[in-house]
């Protein structure tokens, strides 16, 4: 089970819960499970979100692989100038 952590304001859409153990193989499955569990969170996962898998940040990468022992942080998307 991957250890998943919601960061920043996202916990406001998950009844204050921020840590989960989820059986997911990629970001698409991660978003699907989180969205199904917390409908208010679902639209926020559509845009403006990045995922750090074992420290490496992925943006707009639905098929990025998540391992069974991965530590996954859901964070705001990062831009730049």
């Amino acid at each position: 089970m991957a250890k998943v952590v919601l960061n920043g304001n996202l916990k406001q859409f998950s009844d204050g819960q921020g840590d989960f153990d989820l059986d997911v193989k990629d970001v698409r499955q991660l978003f699907a499970q989180l969205g199904a569990r917390f409908p208010e969170l679902a639209p926020h996962l559509e845009e403006g979100i990045a995922v750090a898998i074992d420290g490496e940040i992925f943006q707009d990468a639905l098929f990025a692989a998540i391992g069974p022992e991965s530590e996954v942080h859901v964070i705001p998307k990062i831009g730049g100038g």
Partner: protein, 769 residues
Amino acid sequence: MSDSAKNDSGSNGHKYVGTRQVRPDGVDKVTGRASFGADLHVPNMLIGKVLRSPHAHARILSIDTSKAEALAGVKAVVTRDDINDLPSEMVPAGEMMVNYRDITRNVMAREKVLYEGHAVAAVAAVSESVGLEALSLIDVAYEVLPHVIDVMDSMKPDAPLLHDGMITQGVEPAPEKPSNVAKRVEFAIGDVDAGFADADVIVEREFKTKPVHQAYIEPHACLASVAKDGKAELWCTTQGHFVVRGHCARLLGMDISKLRVTASEIGGGFGGKTVVYLEPVALALSRKSGQPVKMTMTREEVFRATGPTSGAHMRIKIGAKKDGRITAADGLFHYQAGAFPGSPVQLGCMCAFAPYDLENARTVGYDVVVNRPKVAAYRAPGAPIAEYGAECVIDELAKKLGMDPIELRLKNAAKEGTQTVYGPKLGVVGLVETLEAAKAHDHYKAPLGKHQGRGVASGYWFNIGGESCATLNMSEDGGVHLVVGTPDIGGSRASLCLMAAEELGIDLDKVHPHIADTASLGYTFLTGGSRATFASGMAVVEAARDVIDKMRERVAKMWDIPVDAVIWEDGHARPASSNAGAFEPMSLAEITAMANKTGGPLVGNAAINAQGAGPSFGTHIVDVEVDTETGHVEILRYTAIQDAGRAVSPGYVEGQLQGGAVQGIGWALNEEYVYGEDGKLQNAGFLDYRIPVCSDVPMIDTVIVEVPNPTHRFGVRGVGETPIVPPMAAITNAIEQAIGIRFNELPMSPPKVLAAIDASRGPLADAAE
């Protein structure tokens, strides 16, 4: 000269990567052949001009354009009615997510004008003089409203409301009344209160920064041409023409595929050219007039109507044990967003304490609208502001602890495995290496004179990847046309050519770079986030491998051996394994010369969404001398040290470090928007908005540290943004050492410094002794 400048051959066994070469755009730039945003002229071209609000805040009661439309030579007039009113929809736009409802209102005011300079109408005329006369004939009736300029004033309960229905996001329960606070964000790790309870020394300070402009030398400019069938072409100066295409099509109700956007050469962007201002207006004018329309901002328009970065108010609190170990850090940040929500406060909150390995940290940020132009990205958006406050407090903490400021940073430095306040743990990073390089640099040991001081600060930026395409078109003579979609702001063409030559194993002068228009290459995200060399470089490497595989297949067929028995080495296909020596190696030029007979043209392609960007840390050292008679601060010596991962083109990396440092010097010492009581900008020009010129700065020394990013073929990290993060705190810390006065507000301009000296005779006398 940089330490790395001594290298004139490639690094780590590379032939080209890490070398200094003649820049591919150099001749065009120095001979004037390069075409920038305002350089294109076409037959029957009209000139577009914009009518801008004279008020900081007013309701638009009516707009009468009839007199302007009747003026001879006027071909079209557009107002809010010609730009789509879009619903609230968040989309990525370089710096952060933006809302189309706000973009359409920023491009052309609808219900209200929200800042002086806000576009209200535009005309297309046969000449600029006719266009300006037409603007004077447009009658706009306003109901002037109270305005608010300062971020803290805007948060007060009785502040004039910019947006009637704006309820603060991120607050639970949601406020019942609207306010100017668009959003609250919070990040936290550990137990901050317990951390402070465990501290032996705590420093807590408040800071203020002013909005500063990106100050690109080339103003915004574009030329739009819409055909009768709805197909359109747009030429513009931009950091991302694919992004411009998407925004313009949406704002004007066009099919994206009917709009072709070409990026001109760009005379600076620094984040400020990641959004649209003139482009949709020029398209609307061209669509209405049926003629091409060219628009160019004046410098005054650039200042009054385009985004600077945020000004801010912040409070920073850091606690540490006597041995220097930081026990807790807390930051509260209020950022001006300008007229519409979307300041980079969230990124500031994420970066504020990033250089430190902290168990307990918290950052809280507020995104606040005010009656100023909407902010736009500016190098490392949000980070310079937040890290300025944090790095000043770190310096003061070092003094209270009696520690060298670099030693305090080393004791707490972020490294691989450090958990950030925004959640994830860092991968391989090079902060410690930059600090060690700073400590060992002769600059750090050089003697100082009277009223001279030395300051140090570190800085962090994430860096990003993103959508990137590359095509390598192989010529019959072995030349390569390298095609990418990231406009070259800071030398990316040179770096991409070096990587292509390295990967293909051919001479660098065989590689010719081009920035493709939006119809000639797949979607490519903008040049920003320090991503161009990293992400487009990744695409170029992949495209090179693609064409190498194709060439191996051709040669395998010619030799009648399996493709696995053909290897690519030094620009040649060579027989390998049991076939080694059986055939004469074929050069790339020999293979491409036969391309039409062996299967057709040879092209390498890559279309990727680059992931795995490596963060970059930097550490700066600065020496200043304060003139106690005038308050003038002179930069005596400056050294910028940064982890580049791998400097593909060291000269350009140094240029990025030097440019960031100089812009930071301006931010620290002079640059600020000055508003009158009437809410109008009083210094909308380079005579009164003072950016550093050559005589203001010494040669900026650079040290490139190389801790390779493991996810990139050549170890590349982005380098363009981090170097603007440390200067403001480094200079503040240097001034404190010089005269014993610690400033907590930017800019530290001569009048402010002199006033502080006059008010603090005691510390000055101590320092003088």
